[in-house]
């Protein structure tokens, strides 16, 4: 059962990766739709990505 936490860590990374990928993709779509709002979208995107990342890291360290 030693290795299970590594499996957990892997799952966390997959989850966080999907999450950040979603944010990035949606942000791209949003920018494509409204190029004039690029700055605002980028900021919001970075914040959201940072939050997910934070959760990911927290879980990673707990694992």
């Amino acid at each position: 059962m030693e290795g299970l936490n590594y499996v957990g860590a892997g799952l966390i990374v997959i989850g966080a990766g999907i999450g950040i990928g979603q944010i990035g993709g949606k942000a791209m779509e949003a920018i494509a739709r409204q190029p004039e709002a690029t700055g605002k979208i980028q900021t919001a995107m970075l914040i959201a990505a940072a939050l997910i990342e934070g959760i990911g890291f927290a879980a990673l360290f707990a694992a």
Partner: protein, 366 residues
């Protein structure tokens, strides 16, 4: 414009040199370990990475094993300051890089896994069941490698921005030299981070902190990428300290509305209020906690990956694999430059966001 360009060029050069110096270092190890098996090389690289990530009591530039099979360290020792029934100050050279005990006023100290323990004259370390040392640890205020770098960054920032400020006075309110490069960043922090997140009314009193933390984290991160390679932000103590500042400032400048929304959320039924209060309160602690972890983990992970890929050059030991990993390391290095700025930005941005929530005034009740 020209100055800006030259700064970029210098950064880039430093960055390149960092590879060269790291590579040189590993090469030496490679030569020393050549007769041994490949697994040893991997272990060496891993150890080297771990060592690189940790703080140390001497300012080591690099070390290698010479012909007589002795480890040679290039660098300078730093003062060790301990509080153990009185102040004990001595140079870290007394430890001989962990090989010997340091004896001060009849007390013996041993460097074990990068921590100083108090031992007897023979240097015995007692372990508990989980193989953790049980020896007493004196309070340690040593000027370690990281502390030296914090000092350096402190001085750089102080003189850089002081010069920038005095240039404004001499130059009739116009920036000069470095100021021209830094002013847009300062204005960006003011106009795009502080104002929208904190609000036009309250942003002014947080500006000093936000500007300082942004430039501090950024410069420190960039220093981590230079050949000196001292990562300050991959120490949990440092990021903890920075996050603590954000937490303390948020807490002490918070208005009544902030606390009201935490402990007695308006507009929800009473049982919900009771459930929400601890969650919200926990949230206030988790926010700075995630700040701490994010910065720490990003920088640490970046360094581990970067150094692993650099190490892979020697593991592959053929021109295709090595050049590929060199290219990968190069690209990653550029990515790390971006991450260095991005993490500083995120830290500042989220701090501003938390400050903003602390001073926000809710007109409407939801």
């Amino acid at each position: 414009m020209r100055r800006k360009f030259s700064i970029k060029k210098i950064t880039f050069l430093l960055f390149l040199v960092s590879f060269v110096s790291v590579a040189q270092h590993n090469e030496k190890k490679d030569v020393a370990n050549a007769p041994k098996e490949e697994k040893d090389l991997k272990v060496t690289i891993k150890e080297y990475i771990n060592h690189h990530l940790l703080d140390s009591y001497d300012f080591g530039l690099f070390s290698y094993t010479n012909d007589q099979n002795e480890k040679v360290h290039i660098g300078s020792p730093l003062p060790v300051i301990l509080w153990d029934n009185g102040l004990k100050v001595f140079l870290s050279s007394k430890f001989h890089y962990g090989e010997t005990l340091a004896e001060v006023d009849g007390n013996y100290y041993k460097l074990y896994h990068n921590k100083i323990y108090k031992t007897d004259a023979q240097g015995t370390i007692n372990y508990d069941a989980e193989h953790h040392p049980t020896n007493a640890k004196p309070l340690d205020f040593s000027i370690t490698k990281n502390v030296v770098m914090i000092f350096v960054v402190f001085l750089i920032m102080f003189f850089m921005f002081k010069r920038m400020a005095s240039a404004y006075q001499k130059n009739n309110g116009m920036p000069k030299g470095m100021g021209r490069l830094l002013e847009p960043i300062v204005l960006y922090i003011r106009d795009d981070i502080a104002k929208p997140n904190i609000g036009e009314k309250n942003y002014k009193r947080y500006m000093s902190y936000l500007l300082t933390i942004f430039f501090f984290v950024w410069i420190v991160n960039l220093f981590g990428l230079t050949p000196i390679g001292v990562n300050i932000t991959n120490n949990i103590a440092v990021t903890f300290c920075l996050a603590l500042f954000t937490y303390v400032i948020t807490t002490f400048t918070a208005k009544k509305d902030y606390w009201k929304h935490i402990f007695w959320m308006p507009g929800v039924p009473v049982p919900m209020k009771i459930i929400l209060a601890p969650i919200e309160f926990l949230g206030t602690i988790i926010k700075p906690f995630s700040l701490m972890i994010r910065l720490y983990a990003n920088i640490t992970a970046g360094h581990i990956v970067l150094m692993s890929i650099i190490g892979m050059m020697f593991v592959f030991n053929n021109w295709l694999g090595s050049s590929l990993s060199f290219f990968l390391a190069f690209v990653l290095g550029i990515l790390e430059l971006l991450v260095a700025a991005l993490q500083a930005y995120i830290f500042t941005m989220l701090s501003a966001l938390y400050f903003g929530s602390a001073v926000e005034e809710h007109d409407e009740h939801h």
